[in-house]
């Protein structure tokens, strides 16, 4: 019981500290980072404490320490799965899907007719349960990473397309007139004015697409995969009730997802340094 009371006491203390910090020092940058970190650490500790003291079976919920040990033990497996699912499946699909979406957006931007037709359809498709096409694409492209990449392409296409089309319309008439007075050609106008202006919108779509890419790649593996890959490992480890391994995969997925998102966010910061949302956040 010491674990339970100890962790609950720590929780109470940490919450009190957080409340005090938020009230007194919320301007301080280090404190801004410290508060969520403390909250996360508290969650882990309460999890560990409750699981240990209540004797929860590791089959239902393993404590974080056990998961940590399992991660350290099975690094080779985790790396093989990571490279199969994330590097081969998700990343290649993400690059192809986003590239095609941007190209299509530039194409249909020239035709208001296509825009009026494609955008409602695109918005509609973006709301659909697209993961459902995973079994079909697995059937078409086989079990290896190509089918995962195909699922990812379809999943990221529409959010990026819709955002990019909106972005290409983000310049106002004054700016376009300016380009016209300089007698800029269509391509000059596109690359010097409208593409840069579309970047904040594009990155919005790209950030949404990072999560979708990982989801697509992992879920597609439930429908068939070679004997490695995160989705494959999760579904087989669940079957063997090897829950620590499942949680280890989830931790890797969480880390990869955050890192992927963070990477796109860093690139965004470099590309759209001029945008108001990036300024004044020093």
């Amino acid at each position: 019981m010491i674990w339970a009371w100890g962790s609950l006491a720590f929780w109470a203390l940490a919450t009190a500290l957080n409340v005090w910090l938020a009230r007194a020092h919320s301007r301080n940058r280090a404190v801004r980072l410290f508060i969520p970190a403390l909250f996360g650490a508290t969650l882990l500790l309460v999890w560990e404490g409750l699981v240990r003291s209540l004797g929860v079976s590791p089959v239902i919920l393993p404590p974080p320490s056990m998961i940590g040990v399992r991660i350290a033990e099975s690094l080779p497996i985790l790396w093989a799965d990571f490279s199969q699912t994330i590097l081969k499946g998700a990343l290649s699909g993400y690059l192809i899907g986003c590239g095609v979406a941007v190209a299509v957006a530039v194409l249909i931007d020239r035709s208001p007719f296509l825009q009026r037709g494609l955008l409602p359809v695109g918005n509609f498709v973006a709301a659909l349960p697209i993961v459902g096409i995973a079994p079909i694409l697995v059937m078409w492209f086989g079990f290896d990473w190509q089918s995962k990449a195909a699922v990812v392409v379809v999943m990221v296409f529409f959010p990026v397309l819709v955002n990019m089309v909106a972005g290409l319309k983000a310049t106002d008439a004054l700016q376009r007139d300016q380009m016209a007075t300089w007698s800029a050609s269509y391509w000059q106008g596109l690359f010097k004015l409208r593409m840069p202006a579309a970047m904040p919108f594009l990155f919005n779509g790209l950030k949404i697409a990072t999560t979708l890419a990982l989801i697509g790649a992992i879920v597609a593996e439930f429908f068939g995969s070679p004997t490695r890959g995160m989705g494959f490992r999760i579904s087989t480890a669940v079957g063997q009730l090897d829950l620590p391994l499942v949680w280890a995969e989830i931790a890797v997925a969480a880390f990869a997802g955050s890192a992927f998102y963070g990477l796109v966010a860093v690139i965004e910061k470099g590309v759209t340094f001029w945008h108001p949302s990036q300024r004044g956040r020093a």
Binding site: A22, S26, L38, I136, T211, S235
Partner: protein
């Protein structure tokens, strides 16, 4: 109404492309069959055959439509196990599977929306909660949550919780985030002038909440409900994927993929799409009525 013609054009183009792809993808099988039988096939025969295979790589749109009709209307009205013959929905009809999925979706959506709104209220009123919880809520969305869906199902099944609840939990997890973010924005939508006015009335925090923050958050609520309900449906369908689920559109997808029944997969997919579109349209209709009543129609 100006956009009806372009939309129809695009939809028509998709259908034409679909037919073209059907012929292209299925032709190999037709040629193989013909070669095995030792007969020559001309182009028109290939086209006729590719559009009518029983297990095509890509079924033609009319085959999917026929399967949809077969597994809804025909199965229920004329089928041996249909609602007309037995009084209960047939377990072979998409209406039954759609209903299973829909009920889990609605339950999860209700949970998720409630949780999202409650957390948003907490975040708006407590600075500590805002600073400690919000970064994690955002980080939680960069995690492929759907990936843990099968685990949630199996773990809950091992402690005796089966059926609707596990799927609803996944649906709730997916739908809570859009609602949370939207409502935090919505509760903060009143500007400083309006908040100052209520302060001069010496309104309590509760009064401010009920009479200013809540009404001004309604447009944000509906915008996030539309995203949330679509996310909840996706969550439910993925929750039905792990083996053991016997009912629901996701289970239908999985069994179709096991047995190579492509037409069945496409029919289930189309049913899911219709369901998603219907749910979003319903939320949109409620939004129009409510905003109209509140005098906020744009």
């Amino acid at each position: 109404m100006r956009s009806v013609l372009p939309i129809l054009t695009v939809v028509l183009a998709i259908i034409v492309l679909w037919y073209g792809a059907t012929v292209a993808l299925n032709a190999q099988w037709t040629r193989d069959q013909a070669a095995r039988a030792g007969v020559e096939v001309g182009f028109s025969e290939i086209v006729r055959d590719t559009l009518a295979q029983t297990r095509p790589k890509l079924p033609a749109p009319h085959q999917v439509a026929a399967e949809l009709y077969q597994s809804t209307w025909v199965e229920e009205v004329f089928g041996r196990r249909g609602i007309v013959a037995t009084g209960t929905l047939s377990n072979r009809s998409l209406i039954y599977h759609g209903w299973v999925t829909l009920s889990a979706t609605m339950l999860g959506f209700a949970f998720g929306t409630g949780l999202g709104i409650l957390l948003a209220i907490g975040i708006v009123h407590s600075r500590a909660m805002d600073m400690s919880f919000m970064p994690w809520a955002i980080a939680s969305q960069t995690v492929p949550i759907l990936a843990i869906a099968p685990m949630v199902i199996v773990v809950l099944a091992s402690i005796g919780i089966k059926g609707l609840i596990p799927k609803a939990i996944i649906a709730a997890y997916l739908s809570f985030f859009p609602v949370l973010v939207g409502m935090v924005k919505g509760f903060r939508a009143p500007d400083a002038m309006q908040l100052d006015l209520l302060r001069t009335y010496s309104a309590s925090r509760a009064r401010t909440f009920w009479q200013l923050r809540l009404p001004s958050s309604v447009p944000y609520l509906f915008a996030s409900l539309k995203v949330g309900i679509a996310a909840a449906l996706v969550g439910t369908i993925v929750g039905e994927l792990p083996a053991g689920a016997s009912a629901g559109l996701g289970a239908r997808l999985l069994s179709g993929s096991y047995y190579g029944q492509t037409i069945q997969i496409w029919a289930a997919l189309l049913a899911a799409a219709t369901l998603a579109a219907g749910l979003v349209v319903i939320v949109g209709a409620i939004e129009r009525v409510v905003l109209g009543r509140m005098g906020m129609r744009s």
